[in-house]
Symmetry: C2
Subunit: 189 residues, 2 copies
Protein backbone atom coordinates (compact mmCIF):
# COMPACT_ATOMS: atom_id res chain seq x y z
CA UNK A 1 0.00 0.00 0.00
CA UNK A 2 1.89 2.98 -1.34
CA UNK A 3 0.29 5.67 0.87
CA UNK A 4 1.28 3.72 3.98
CA UNK A 5 4.83 3.00 2.81
CA UNK A 6 5.32 6.68 1.95
CA UNK A 7 4.12 7.62 5.43
CA UNK A 8 6.48 5.09 7.03
CA UNK A 9 9.43 6.44 5.01
CA UNK A 10 8.53 10.03 5.90
CA UNK A 11 7.72 9.64 9.59
CA UNK A 12 8.84 6.35 11.15
CA UNK A 13 11.78 6.32 13.55
CA UNK A 14 14.21 3.45 13.09
CA UNK A 15 15.42 2.63 16.60
CA UNK A 16 17.70 -0.28 15.73
CA UNK A 17 17.89 -3.30 13.39
CA UNK A 18 14.68 -4.72 14.85
CA UNK A 19 12.57 -1.84 16.12
CA UNK A 20 10.72 0.81 14.18
CA UNK A 21 8.44 3.34 15.86
CA UNK A 22 5.38 4.78 14.20
CA UNK A 23 4.09 6.84 17.12
CA UNK A 24 3.48 9.76 14.76
CA UNK A 25 0.55 8.15 12.99
CA UNK A 26 -0.30 4.72 14.42
CA UNK A 27 0.65 3.97 18.02
CA UNK A 28 0.34 7.17 20.02
CA UNK A 29 -0.91 9.83 17.65
CA UNK A 30 -3.36 8.33 15.13
CA UNK A 31 -3.73 9.74 11.62
CA UNK A 32 -7.40 8.92 11.21
CA UNK A 33 -7.49 9.78 7.49
CA UNK A 34 -4.66 7.32 6.86
CA UNK A 35 -6.39 4.67 8.99
CA UNK A 36 -9.51 5.17 6.91
CA UNK A 37 -7.55 4.33 3.77
CA UNK A 38 -6.11 1.33 5.61
CA UNK A 39 -9.63 0.21 6.53
CA UNK A 40 -10.75 0.48 2.90
CA UNK A 41 -7.73 -1.55 1.79
CA UNK A 42 -8.52 -4.32 4.30
CA UNK A 43 -12.08 -4.35 2.94
CA UNK A 44 -10.77 -4.62 -0.61
CA UNK A 45 -8.48 -7.52 0.29
CA UNK A 46 -11.07 -9.41 2.32
CA UNK A 47 -14.08 -8.44 0.17
CA UNK A 48 -14.90 -12.08 -0.54
CA UNK A 49 -15.07 -13.04 3.13
CA UNK A 50 -18.13 -12.88 5.33
CA UNK A 51 -17.01 -11.16 8.54
CA UNK A 52 -19.24 -11.10 11.64
CA UNK A 53 -16.63 -9.79 14.12
CA UNK A 54 -13.42 -7.82 14.07
CA UNK A 55 -11.04 -8.95 16.83
CA UNK A 56 -8.02 -7.03 18.08
CA UNK A 57 -6.05 -6.47 21.28
CA UNK A 58 -5.69 -3.31 23.33
CA UNK A 59 -4.42 -0.69 22.97
CA UNK A 60 -2.96 0.24 19.54
CA UNK A 61 -5.19 -2.17 17.63
CA UNK A 62 -8.46 -0.62 18.77
CA UNK A 63 -8.50 2.50 16.62
CA UNK A 64 -7.53 0.61 13.46
CA UNK A 65 -10.11 -2.09 14.18
CA UNK A 66 -12.92 0.43 14.79
CA UNK A 67 -12.25 2.42 11.61
CA UNK A 68 -11.92 -0.81 9.61
CA UNK A 69 -15.13 -2.24 11.11
CA UNK A 70 -17.11 0.55 9.43
CA UNK A 71 -16.35 -1.04 6.05
CA UNK A 72 -17.42 -4.52 7.20
CA UNK A 73 -20.47 -3.42 9.16
CA UNK A 74 -19.38 -5.66 12.04
CA UNK A 75 -18.75 -4.97 15.74
CA UNK A 76 -15.24 -4.87 17.20
CA UNK A 77 -14.13 -6.98 20.15
CA UNK A 78 -10.84 -6.10 21.77
CA UNK A 79 -8.96 -8.55 23.97
CA UNK A 80 -7.95 -7.06 27.32
CA UNK A 81 -4.35 -7.27 28.30
CA UNK A 82 -3.93 -6.92 32.03
CA UNK A 83 -4.55 -9.13 35.01
CA UNK A 84 -6.59 -6.41 36.69
CA UNK A 85 -8.89 -5.74 33.76
CA UNK A 86 -12.56 -5.80 34.58
CA UNK A 87 -13.59 -8.78 32.51
CA UNK A 88 -16.46 -10.42 34.30
CA UNK A 89 -17.76 -13.95 33.99
CA UNK A 90 -16.34 -16.57 31.75
CA UNK A 91 -13.40 -15.65 29.58
CA UNK A 92 -11.24 -17.19 26.88
CA UNK A 93 -7.62 -16.41 27.65
CA UNK A 94 -4.20 -16.90 26.21
CA UNK A 95 -0.69 -16.34 27.55
CA UNK A 96 1.41 -14.05 25.36
CA UNK A 97 5.12 -13.26 25.57
CA UNK A 98 6.13 -9.70 24.76
CA UNK A 99 9.67 -9.26 23.45
CA UNK A 100 9.36 -5.48 23.77
CA UNK A 101 8.63 -5.70 27.48
CA UNK A 102 10.33 -9.07 28.10
CA UNK A 103 7.43 -10.50 30.07
CA UNK A 104 4.35 -12.65 29.79
CA UNK A 105 0.89 -11.20 29.97
CA UNK A 106 -2.58 -12.59 29.54
CA UNK A 107 -5.03 -11.54 26.89
CA UNK A 108 -8.68 -12.22 27.59
CA UNK A 109 -12.03 -12.06 25.84
CA UNK A 110 -15.37 -12.59 27.58
CA UNK A 111 -16.92 -15.76 26.17
CA UNK A 112 -20.19 -14.10 25.30
CA UNK A 113 -18.54 -11.93 22.67
CA UNK A 114 -17.38 -14.75 20.38
CA UNK A 115 -19.76 -17.56 19.44
CA UNK A 116 -19.04 -20.70 17.45
CA UNK A 117 -20.97 -19.13 14.55
CA UNK A 118 -18.62 -16.15 14.27
CA UNK A 119 -16.43 -15.46 11.26
CA UNK A 120 -13.62 -13.40 12.71
CA UNK A 121 -11.26 -10.98 10.98
CA UNK A 122 -8.29 -10.25 13.23
CA UNK A 123 -6.77 -6.77 12.86
CA UNK A 124 -3.54 -5.56 14.46
CA UNK A 125 -0.96 -2.84 13.98
CA UNK A 126 2.20 -4.98 13.90
CA UNK A 127 3.20 -8.53 13.06
CA UNK A 128 6.65 -9.23 14.49
CA UNK A 129 7.10 -12.53 16.31
CA UNK A 130 3.43 -13.27 16.05
CA UNK A 131 2.90 -13.92 19.75
CA UNK A 132 -0.05 -11.59 20.25
CA UNK A 133 -1.60 -12.75 16.99
CA UNK A 134 -1.14 -16.40 17.97
CA UNK A 135 -2.94 -15.64 21.22
CA UNK A 136 -5.87 -14.06 19.40
CA UNK A 137 -6.12 -17.04 17.01
CA UNK A 138 -6.10 -19.40 20.02
CA UNK A 139 -9.00 -17.47 21.52
CA UNK A 140 -11.02 -17.75 18.30
CA UNK A 141 -10.27 -21.50 18.19
CA UNK A 142 -11.29 -21.91 21.83
CA UNK A 143 -14.63 -20.33 20.95
CA UNK A 144 -15.11 -22.80 18.10
CA UNK A 145 -15.30 -19.85 15.70
CA UNK A 146 -13.45 -19.38 12.41
CA UNK A 147 -10.65 -16.89 11.73
CA UNK A 148 -11.38 -15.87 8.15
CA UNK A 149 -8.26 -13.72 7.89
CA UNK A 150 -5.68 -11.53 9.55
CA UNK A 151 -5.12 -7.91 8.53
CA UNK A 152 -1.82 -6.35 9.63
CA UNK A 153 -0.69 -2.79 9.05
CA UNK A 154 3.09 -3.38 9.29
CA UNK A 155 4.79 -6.77 9.13
CA UNK A 156 8.43 -7.19 10.07
CA UNK A 157 9.16 -10.29 7.99
CA UNK A 158 12.58 -10.83 9.58
CA UNK A 159 10.96 -11.69 12.91
CA UNK A 160 9.27 -14.91 11.78
CA UNK A 161 5.72 -14.12 12.91
CA UNK A 162 4.23 -15.35 9.65
CA UNK A 163 6.25 -18.59 9.70
CA UNK A 164 5.19 -19.25 13.30
CA UNK A 165 1.57 -19.16 12.12
CA UNK A 166 1.75 -21.01 8.79
CA UNK A 167 0.54 -24.34 10.21
CA UNK A 168 -2.72 -22.56 11.00
CA UNK A 169 -3.32 -22.03 7.25
CA UNK A 170 -4.85 -18.61 7.88
CA UNK A 171 -4.62 -15.91 5.25
CA UNK A 172 -2.51 -12.99 6.46
CA UNK A 173 -2.62 -9.68 4.58
CA UNK A 174 0.00 -7.10 5.58
CA UNK A 175 -0.22 -3.65 4.04
CA UNK A 176 3.50 -2.94 4.41
CA UNK A 177 6.11 -5.70 4.73
CA UNK A 178 9.53 -4.69 6.00
CA UNK A 179 12.26 -7.19 5.09
CA UNK A 180 15.08 -5.39 6.85
CA UNK A 181 15.94 -2.36 8.97
CA UNK A 182 19.69 -2.84 8.68
CA UNK A 183 21.97 0.18 8.54
CA UNK A 184 19.14 2.48 9.47
CA UNK A 185 17.33 1.90 6.17
CA UNK A 186 13.85 0.50 5.63
CA UNK A 187 13.76 -2.22 2.97
CA UNK A 188 10.20 -3.00 1.96
CA UNK A 189 9.36 -6.26 0.18
CA UNK B 1 -29.07 11.13 23.22
CA UNK B 2 -32.02 8.77 22.96
CA UNK B 3 -30.33 6.03 20.90
CA UNK B 4 -27.59 5.76 23.53
CA UNK B 5 -29.97 5.79 26.49
CA UNK B 6 -32.10 3.08 24.86
CA UNK B 7 -28.96 0.98 24.34
CA UNK B 8 -27.94 1.48 27.99
CA UNK B 9 -31.39 0.44 29.20
CA UNK B 10 -31.40 -2.61 26.93
CA UNK B 11 -27.86 -3.87 27.45
CA UNK B 12 -26.03 -2.33 30.42
CA UNK B 13 -25.42 -4.42 33.52
CA UNK B 14 -25.99 -2.68 36.83
CA UNK B 15 -23.38 -4.13 39.18
CA UNK B 16 -24.23 -2.08 42.28
CA UNK B 17 -25.27 1.47 43.28
CA UNK B 18 -22.13 2.93 41.74
CA UNK B 19 -21.02 0.64 38.91
CA UNK B 20 -22.63 0.04 35.54
CA UNK B 21 -20.99 -2.10 32.87
CA UNK B 22 -21.40 -1.46 29.17
CA UNK B 23 -19.05 -4.15 27.87
CA UNK B 24 -21.66 -5.15 25.30
CA UNK B 25 -21.24 -2.03 23.20
CA UNK B 26 -18.58 0.30 24.58
CA UNK B 27 -15.80 -1.19 26.72
CA UNK B 28 -15.03 -4.65 25.40
CA UNK B 29 -17.27 -5.24 22.42
CA UNK B 30 -17.74 -2.01 20.45
CA UNK B 31 -20.90 -1.28 18.49
CA UNK B 32 -19.28 0.77 15.75
CA UNK B 33 -22.58 1.94 14.25
CA UNK B 34 -23.62 3.33 17.63
CA UNK B 35 -20.20 4.97 18.10
CA UNK B 36 -20.65 6.59 14.70
CA UNK B 37 -23.87 8.19 15.88
CA UNK B 38 -22.06 9.25 19.05
CA UNK B 39 -19.30 10.83 16.94
CA UNK B 40 -21.88 12.76 14.91
CA UNK B 41 -23.53 13.98 18.10
CA UNK B 42 -20.20 15.22 19.50
CA UNK B 43 -19.66 17.07 16.22
CA UNK B 44 -23.13 18.62 16.45
CA UNK B 45 -22.52 19.78 20.03
CA UNK B 46 -19.02 21.14 19.38
CA UNK B 47 -19.72 22.39 15.84
CA UNK B 48 -18.75 25.95 16.75
CA UNK B 49 -15.34 24.94 18.07
CA UNK B 50 -12.16 24.72 16.07
CA UNK B 51 -10.57 21.39 17.01
CA UNK B 52 -7.00 20.52 16.00
CA UNK B 53 -6.58 17.41 18.17
CA UNK B 54 -8.75 14.81 19.84
CA UNK B 55 -7.20 13.59 23.10
CA UNK B 56 -8.21 10.45 25.00
CA UNK B 57 -6.64 7.80 27.22
CA UNK B 58 -6.13 4.12 26.50
CA UNK B 59 -7.86 1.76 26.15
CA UNK B 60 -11.66 2.24 25.97
CA UNK B 61 -11.44 5.84 24.81
CA UNK B 62 -9.47 5.08 21.65
CA UNK B 63 -12.24 3.64 19.49
CA UNK B 64 -14.68 6.41 20.38
CA UNK B 65 -12.03 9.06 19.77
CA UNK B 66 -11.04 7.63 16.36
CA UNK B 67 -14.61 7.37 15.08
CA UNK B 68 -15.38 10.88 16.41
CA UNK B 69 -12.19 12.30 14.86
CA UNK B 70 -13.55 11.53 11.39
CA UNK B 71 -16.18 14.23 11.89
CA UNK B 72 -13.63 16.82 13.04
CA UNK B 73 -10.95 15.95 10.49
CA UNK B 74 -8.35 15.98 13.29
CA UNK B 75 -5.81 13.40 14.49
CA UNK B 76 -6.26 11.46 17.73
CA UNK B 77 -3.66 11.35 20.49
CA UNK B 78 -4.14 8.78 23.21
CA UNK B 79 -2.40 9.07 26.57
CA UNK B 80 -0.59 5.89 27.57
CA UNK B 81 -1.38 4.41 30.92
CA UNK B 82 1.42 2.20 32.13
CA UNK B 83 4.89 2.71 33.50
CA UNK B 84 6.33 0.31 30.92
CA UNK B 85 4.77 1.94 27.90
CA UNK B 86 7.17 2.80 25.13
CA UNK B 87 6.88 6.55 25.21
CA UNK B 88 10.22 7.92 24.17
CA UNK B 89 11.71 11.33 24.72
CA UNK B 90 10.03 14.10 26.57
CA UNK B 91 6.56 13.47 27.96
CA UNK B 92 3.83 15.35 29.75
CA UNK B 93 2.53 13.17 32.55
CA UNK B 94 -0.08 13.17 35.23
CA UNK B 95 -0.77 10.94 38.22
CA UNK B 96 -4.30 9.50 38.22
CA UNK B 97 -6.09 7.58 40.96
CA UNK B 98 -8.37 4.77 39.81
CA UNK B 99 -11.24 3.94 42.17
CA UNK B 100 -12.04 0.82 40.14
CA UNK B 101 -8.55 -0.59 40.64
CA UNK B 102 -7.76 1.28 43.88
CA UNK B 103 -4.33 2.38 42.72
CA UNK B 104 -2.44 5.24 41.17
CA UNK B 105 -1.16 5.10 37.64
CA UNK B 106 0.54 7.55 35.35
CA UNK B 107 -0.84 8.78 32.08
CA UNK B 108 1.64 10.17 29.58
CA UNK B 109 1.68 11.97 26.27
CA UNK B 110 4.83 12.62 24.25
CA UNK B 111 5.41 16.38 24.17
CA UNK B 112 5.69 16.52 20.40
CA UNK B 113 2.04 15.52 19.99
CA UNK B 114 0.53 18.57 21.71
CA UNK B 115 1.75 22.04 20.88
CA UNK B 116 0.80 25.34 22.48
CA UNK B 117 -1.21 26.12 19.32
CA UNK B 118 -3.49 23.09 19.70
CA UNK B 119 -7.22 23.32 20.36
CA UNK B 120 -7.99 20.05 22.07
CA UNK B 121 -11.27 18.18 22.34
CA UNK B 122 -11.03 15.53 25.05
CA UNK B 123 -13.16 12.42 24.48
CA UNK B 124 -13.72 9.62 26.99
CA UNK B 125 -16.19 6.83 27.64
CA UNK B 126 -17.04 7.60 31.29
CA UNK B 127 -17.05 10.54 33.64
CA UNK B 128 -17.24 9.31 37.22
CA UNK B 129 -14.88 10.94 39.72
CA UNK B 130 -13.15 12.81 36.97
CA UNK B 131 -9.65 11.71 37.87
CA UNK B 132 -8.62 10.50 34.42
CA UNK B 133 -10.24 13.56 32.83
CA UNK B 134 -8.46 15.87 35.29
CA UNK B 135 -5.18 14.21 34.30
CA UNK B 136 -5.84 14.80 30.61
CA UNK B 137 -6.74 18.46 31.22
CA UNK B 138 -3.50 18.87 33.22
CA UNK B 139 -1.54 17.50 30.27
CA UNK B 140 -3.17 19.99 27.88
CA UNK B 141 -2.41 22.83 30.33
CA UNK B 142 1.20 21.68 30.68
CA UNK B 143 1.53 21.89 26.89
CA UNK B 144 0.18 25.46 26.95
CA UNK B 145 -2.66 24.33 24.67
CA UNK B 146 -6.39 24.96 25.09
CA UNK B 147 -9.04 22.39 25.98
CA UNK B 148 -12.01 23.57 23.89
CA UNK B 149 -14.34 20.97 25.33
CA UNK B 150 -14.87 17.55 26.84
CA UNK B 151 -17.13 14.94 25.24
CA UNK B 152 -18.25 12.10 27.48
CA UNK B 153 -20.41 9.14 26.50
CA UNK B 154 -21.77 8.28 29.97
CA UNK B 155 -21.60 10.56 33.02
CA UNK B 156 -22.38 9.28 36.49
CA UNK B 157 -23.44 12.56 38.05
CA UNK B 158 -23.54 11.11 41.58
CA UNK B 159 -19.76 10.70 41.58
CA UNK B 160 -18.90 14.42 41.47
CA UNK B 161 -16.56 14.33 38.45
CA UNK B 162 -18.17 17.43 36.95
CA UNK B 163 -18.02 19.36 40.24
CA UNK B 164 -14.34 18.45 40.66
CA UNK B 165 -13.66 20.13 37.32
CA UNK B 166 -15.90 23.22 37.50
CA UNK B 167 -13.09 25.57 38.52
CA UNK B 168 -11.50 24.79 35.15
CA UNK B 169 -14.49 26.41 33.37
CA UNK B 170 -14.36 23.83 30.58
CA UNK B 171 -17.51 22.89 28.72
CA UNK B 172 -18.42 19.24 29.34
CA UNK B 173 -20.98 17.54 27.09
CA UNK B 174 -22.20 14.12 28.26
CA UNK B 175 -24.48 12.15 25.95
CA UNK B 176 -26.14 10.21 28.78
CA UNK B 177 -26.18 11.45 32.38
CA UNK B 178 -27.05 8.91 35.05
CA UNK B 179 -28.27 10.51 38.29
CA UNK B 180 -28.69 7.28 40.21
CA UNK B 181 -28.30 3.50 40.00
CA UNK B 182 -30.13 2.86 43.26
CA UNK B 183 -32.28 -0.24 43.63
CA UNK B 184 -30.93 -1.67 40.39
CA UNK B 185 -32.64 0.99 38.30
CA UNK B 186 -31.04 3.51 35.96
CA UNK B 187 -32.30 7.04 36.50
CA UNK B 188 -31.25 9.34 33.68
CA UNK B 189 -31.27 13.09 34.12
Amino acid sequence: MKLLKDKIIAEAQIIDDRIIKVDNFLNHQIDVQLINEIGKEFKRRFASEEVTKILTVEASGIGIACITAQYFNAPVVFAKKHEASNVDGEVYQSQVYSYTKDKYFKIRVAKRFISSQDKVLIIDDFLANGNALGGLIEIVEAAGAKTVGVGIVIEKSFQQGRQNLTDKKIRIESLAIIDSLENGTIHFR
